[in-house]
Symmetry: C2
Subunit: 499 residues, 2 copies
């Protein structure tokens, strides 16, 4: 009786990805470009651990084996609950609370890395994804918020987003607070708190549902196309009108929007403070951002997170793409942030003013791919391949590879044990631009044959005959072994000009 | 009655670190240098998730809440056990088993990232640390193992380890198998397996315990200085002699060592295979490694991991350092690897030959710090700081910062709200080389004052008087605002030459 052996599954965990090739190299390149810009602005790199205590992250885990609330959690030897970070902001708050006395103020840091969400994965929704954050801690000055927007704008353009393909929407949470105050919704009781929360979520859906949909959600509730009913905030018509008038206050330029908001909120103290903050922010942006016309005061922007206390901002890509249902939509948000003055206070009781911005790198790379701003697999040229014609002379081939590499040419000695045909197939899969070939004939004459695999492939694509291919003298070139470095370099140059 | 609020602790998880400053930038730089070299050899980047299924990692978790066995484990929604990766080799084996048909063969990848060990932390022992791995999957040819050693050697030197400060010790597990066969220890029964395991661990301690200590451990057992007794393998004197003779077989050069081993193992088939493999490896290394004299056939090298099946190698730094007890010792191992032909077979049943090398980046960086090969915090110059003398003219200061940055000069506008003295202190903490100052006088004349903070600090160190410092015209320079870019550039140049 034979027993089938029980092999472990080689399927990874659902919602997680293996990255390689052009996607990974595009991400590495984006990280490098953004790091250079952020460092030029004086931000220093920080790297916090992937694992934090659950209490530091501020999620409260239930008393069961498995943590809930969207984080991956588990217990340490000492029974303490630990969790994988779900963003890079909570760890920063913990870091600042801990090292406060040792940090320059303001403290400006950038950080990039994986964050983890224990949520149901879906198309384009992963449980480990990459963020690129910058934060300024320890100053209440609007110059800080303005700098983040200017830097974000510079970053997007450096990555290949054109100046007319994005806007950075800016709003101030203080204005929303003021609108609620004006609408008589400023109470601290649970019922009013609930109304505000529903109203927040409703405004956030303005893009998707339009004004009629949001009006329904602010009022009695809304039945969607499928017949599902979402309960509304239960506001009066007068209250709804005040809120909608505010979201509608966007004028032809930022000054007009400021004026419109001033007319709506003028008497309210919180509103005045918020408007002065935005004025200062736009003044700084005009002074220091080469693309300041892309910074738009948009009163309809909310940003989901509850912890924002001042300016909020969101970078939106404005070009059209097809969504998963085939409908043409604007690409949408790829980065966002805002001022959060209370996160460090969770640890110390002392308020530390702070503001930050986070780029969703995976989504941004999808956008760049969409714009053709990423190199294709073919354009990322692989290494020159030194083939093995004669296994006894493998040390000679190793010397050739070494010589080319020492001259700064990315070169690989074929390490497998297969025949020539398989080696050429391998070179093809690696997108090798050139194969170096030396049989016994060439060796006897002190020569090597260089094959331009790139041109060969292009000709093959165009359905040239094998004979044409073989005899095209551009495709293969016999050179003296003494000249190999300069000959390979010249051939690579021709290939790069062709790509 | 006042109630003390219960704040969460800002202490991170024990055994984990926050990294910043010169340590982090040294690691980033090392990763960049190694990536460039590995890519020059034709290795492609891969990034696998931090989380894997426990079965894929091959650790078996007990049926309790908390996993044991040195990994951080937890259950997914579907009750499946997950774990954080403890190295980069197990995820590679899972990846290759899964994508086998889609990979070029040989498949050469490098990967860098954090790995996690759920172990008791100690001085210099962390629970999250950084590895830099390269592996070649799908070829049994010794050219692959030779290439890894050559590449490792090139990498160490590129990082600043001098050619006489390291050796790469090479051995072959097949020779150890042969020695056990010759000593009559090749049985498959549990008792013999146990003896071999103890013997392996004993040989691995040769460096630390010397031959007498290892002899005791191979025999009846060993009592250490504290009186603790470690049970031995219980081998006969004849068996012990065979093993020790092998570990002692190292000659004046690799050929002499090969000869000595051949004399000891000559008749044994496994031994012959192993020796031929090493001969091929050294032939390739001689042909392709510019520092081949550092590659040493060392029969005493074992490497801990059980899965090696062929050549094993270990990079050892040979310079002296003080250990935690103040004793002078050689720095020791910073990287290692070897051939493991059975890891992919765990998933598929099919043997896939593979070989790999892993650098312990944290330990290597400690070594580089020891050699003074890392820049100090002071040598890593911070940004030029544009100070705020007059808050009403902050937009002007922002324009100056923007102009310098646009010219490629790392420049930061002071974002805090403190006075001038605090700004200079801030500049000092950021290791800013230059402060840009413009009060109303300078502004009226269209001038700015540049302060060479680096020179100022040096003079302060040498206890010059405040007057001398103030009036030294090298320390501060009044320039026309129109010339600011060239003036800052010239001052930076002088500072860099001084550092």
């Amino acid at each position: 009786m034979s027993k089938k052996k029980n092999f472990p599954s080689s399927e990874g965990v659902r919602g997680f990805r293996d990255l390689r090739g052009s996607v990974l190299s595009a991400r590495k390149q984006a990280v490098q470009i953004l790091s250079d810009i952020y460092e030029a602005y004086g931000f220093e790199a920080l790297e916090t651990p992937v694992i934090e205590t659950a209490e530091a992250l501020g999620k409260f885990l239930p008393d069961v084996d498995r943590p809930a609330g969207g984080v991956f959690g588990f217990q340490d030897d000492d029974e303490r609950w630990l969790a994988l970070r779900y963003d890079l902001t909570a760890p920063l708050a913990r870091f600042v609370a801990h090292y406060d006395q040792h940090l320059p103020k303001p403290f400006k840091r950038y950080q990039t890395g994986s964050v983890f969400r224990n949520e149901k994965p879906g198309p384009g929704r992963f449980r480990e994804f990459h963020q690129f954050d910058a934060d300024i801690v320890g100053t209440a000055a609007m110059t800080a918020d303005a700098e983040l927007c200017a830097m974000l704008s510079e970053g997007l353009q450096a990555l290949g987003i054109k100046s007319d393909e994005y806007v950075i929407n800016i709003n101030n949470r203080k204005l929303l607070t003021a609108v609620f105050e004006v609408a008589g919704l400023s109470g601290d009781d649970d019922a009013t708190f609930q109304k505000r929360a529903i109203a927040f979520r409703a405004i956030d859906k303005l893009d998707r549902l339009g004004e009629a949909g949001v009006k329904a959600l602010l009022g009695a509730g809304r039945k969607d196309a499928s017949g599902d009913f979402t309960e509304g905030a239960g506001l009066s018509d007068a209250q709804t009108d005040i809120i909608l008038a505010f979201t509608r206050a966007r004028g032809g330029d930022n000054n007009q929007t400021l004026e419109a908001c001033r007319a709506l909120l003028g008497e309210n103290e919180t509103g005045q403070t918020g408007l002065v903050e935005l004025e200062k922010m736009f003044e700084m942006i005009d002074a220091s951002c080469s693309n300041s016309q892309n910074m738009v005061f948009n009163p309809a922007i909310v940003r989901g997170l509850g912890y924002y206390t001042g300016p909020v901002f969101e970078a939106e890509l404005t070009f059209d793409v097809q969504n998963e249902k085939g409908k043409v939509v604007q690409f949408g948000s790829v980065a966002g942030g805002g001022r959060y003055d209370d996160l460090v206070a969770r640890f110390t009781g002392r308020t530390v003013p702070a503001t930050g911005v986070s780029i969703g790198l995976d989504r941004l790379l999808t956008a760049l791919e969409n714009r053709g701003a990423l190199k294709s697999e073919q354009e990322n040229l692989g290494p020159v391949i030194v083939t093995i014609m004669d296994r006894d002379r493998i040390a000679d081939y190793a010397r050739i590879a070494h010589e080319l590499r020492a001259a700064g040419i990315k070169t690989e000695l074929y390490l497998g044990e297969a025949g020539f045909k398989a080696q050429m197939k391998y070179a093809d899969r690696r997108h090798a631009p050139i194969a170096v070939i030396q049989g016994s004939d060439e060796s006897a004459k002190g020569e090597v044959l260089l094959k331009d695999l790139h041109l060969g492939m292009m000709m093959a694509d165009k359905a040239h005959t094998h004979e044409e291919w073989r005899h095209n003298e551009d495709v293969q070139k016999l050179v003296s072994q003494n000249d190999i470095v300069s000959a390979v370099r010249a051939m690579l140059e021709r290939i790069k000009n062709r790509v």
